[in-house]
Structure formats: structure tokens, C-alpha cells
Amino acid sequence: MTKKIKIATFLFISLCVLSISVYYVIFDEEHINVIATEPELHLSSRSLVASFSKNEQNANDNYKNKVVEVTGSIKEISYLNNRSTLILEGNTRSSSIICDIQPNHKMKLKKLKEGDTITIKGVCKGYLKDVILLNCVLTNQNTNE
């Protein structure tokens, strides 16, 4: 009898542990897998910045937390704070797009230089003085070849 209870308790606890771990595995995947996701929107870096500077609320409704594909000219490549960041030109000198590149796409940056036109896919997070894209991957490289 006690043995049965012991086995039952053991089974119950293992079931609990199992279900918790399954829950974590399922819900703990990358929230948006950028590489596999088809971008919902494709536009130029200038027009993305323009729509945010014109009407931030509207632009947030259209782009925030969505995978967007942006084509634009590289203003700066930065490795500040151990991050790999591409800054794409916006429609004015003071506003740009800050693209935080996924670590596994870091190597691709080495072939790029300022002034190159590239296409990037990432999750749009919103706007401060610049538009911010996270989890970015390079989708094609129109280097000057």
C-alpha cells in the first residue's frame, strides 16, 4: 500500500516536472524567429524613418513588433558594447535606423563598408530619435560588385 502511494507520488511529481519543462521549452523559443519569418513589410530605410518622424503613433501601429525588411545605405558600422550594429541612413541627417545584428550574422559585416546598399530583416521595436530594429539578419548583400 505504502509502496503504491510512493510510486504514485513519484509519478505525480515527475509528471509535474515534465509538464513544467515542456511548458518552458515550448514557450521559450525565440519569440520571433526572424530568419524563418517572411517579412510583413518591405520598404526603404528612408521611408521607414520618414513615417516614424511624421507620425510616431501611426508608425508604431504599422511596424512595431513586426518583422520588416529594409533596404538602405550604410551610414555606420559599430561594434560598441560588444554588439554588432549597422546604422542605415534615414531621410534626414539626424535620424537613422539602428539595426542590432544577430551574433551568428556578425561575420557578414566584415565584407561591408559605409555607403554600401544592403537589405536587412529585423523586428521593429519603435522610435526614439532613430528607428530601432533588433534580431537583424542580412538578407542580401548588394556590395559594390
Partner: protein, 182 residues
């Protein structure tokens, strides 16, 4: 005579250019926060924090997107944005303040206080933060850390998750500024 002329030339050229760049900016400031409990440690980083300092007025302004904090686990990211911070309703956190007795002309390192208003979830708190200011070749780097009480910002944590989240969150920051050209 010639030497004096050359020195004069340099003085005239460099002194004014130093005082022209009165504002400095960073678009890639780093803010991290940590929550340590016996159950789990939670850490998040935001690498796209905007900050501008007006050196002549000794004013500093900081703004960040709450949904741009990156967590190790996406479940934490989800809870943070949807339940605690409600980043759809309150997308930004800001800080506006003044340095106390800060001399932007001193090269090297100095420790100063910044007094100002921190706003998270539309709730404003007056805080005073000790910062380390470093000036190397005319470039400013500001670092520091401070603590925030979760309760102060009316963040509701469900009882079942209360042991997982510290009551006091430690925050660290690092801002590397560049001259600001509008």
C-alpha cells in the same frame, strides 16, 4: 616669434572648437538590470538607449524603449512587457536631470551626482545617482549603477511569481557620447 605665432594659431583654432560642441549624444547607450533571488536570476540589457548631455547647462536626458530589453529567456521578456511594464501602454522610460558641480573641462575621471526625475510607466520618481564621468580626448563616457524598488512603480506581480522577482532591482548603465551635430 614664429613659435609664438604658431602657438597663437593653435590656441585660436582649438579653444573655440572645443566650446562649440556643447551637446553630446549617444544612440547606443547600454542599460542593464538585474534581479537576484534564491529562485532565479533575471538579467536584461538594452543597447539602444538614447542620451543627450548639454555640457554648458549640465543637463542630461535619457530615453529608452522598454520592449528593446533583451532577456535570456523569452518568457521573461513576455512577462516583463505584457504584465509588469505594460510596454504597449508605456513604451518608454525616461530620465531628465542635472549634474551637480560637474566640470566638463576636466580631462580624466571624476565622480559626480546626477539629480533628476526617472519616469517608468508614467510614474515619476526623484532620484540621485552617483556616476563616474570619464573624459578621454574630448569624448565622454558615463557609467554607474543604482537601485530601484519594484513597488515604487506600481508593478503588479502575481503571488505565485513573487519569490522569483527581487523587491529591489539593480540597474547599471554605460553611455559613450559623441559630439552632437543636428
Amino acid at each position: 616669434m614664429n613659435k609664438i605665432l604658431i602657438q597663437l594659431f593653435f590656441l585660436l583654432n582649438f579653444v573655440p572648437s572645443d566650446s562649440i560642441s556643447e551637446q553630446v549624444i549617444t544612440r547606443q547607450g547600454q542599460v542593464s538590470f538585474f534581479s537576484y533571488t534564491s529562485v532565479e536570476n533575471i538579467e536584461a540589457k538594452n543597447n539602444q538607449v538614447l542620451s543627450i548631455i548639454d555640457l554648458s547647462k549640465q543637463e542630461i536626458a535619457i530615453s529608452m524603449l522598454m520592449n528593446a530589453f533583451v532577456f535570456k529567456k523569452s518568457l521573461m521578456h513576455e512577462h516583463f512587457n505584457e504584465s509588469y511594464i505594460e510596454s504597449d501602454l508605456y513604451p518608454k522610460a525616461t530620465f531628465k536631470g542635472n549634474f551637480i558641480d560637474f566640470d566638463p573641462n576636466i580631462e580624466g575621471s571624476q565622480t559626480k551626482f546626477v539629480k533628476g526625475t526617472l519616469t517608468i510607466r508614467n510614474i515619476s520618481k526623484e532620484i540621485e545617482i552617483k556616476t563616474n564621468i570619464e573624459k578621454i580626448d574630448g569624448k565622454f563616457i558615463i557609467t554607474g549603477d543604482f537601485e530601484l524598488t519594484v513597488k515604487d512603480f506600481e508593478i503588479k506581480i502575481p503571488p505565485i511569481l513573487r519569490p522569483n522577482i527581487a523587491k529591489v532591482i539593480s540597474v547599471t548603465f554605460r553611455f559613450e557620447y559623441q559630439p552632437y551635430e543636428e
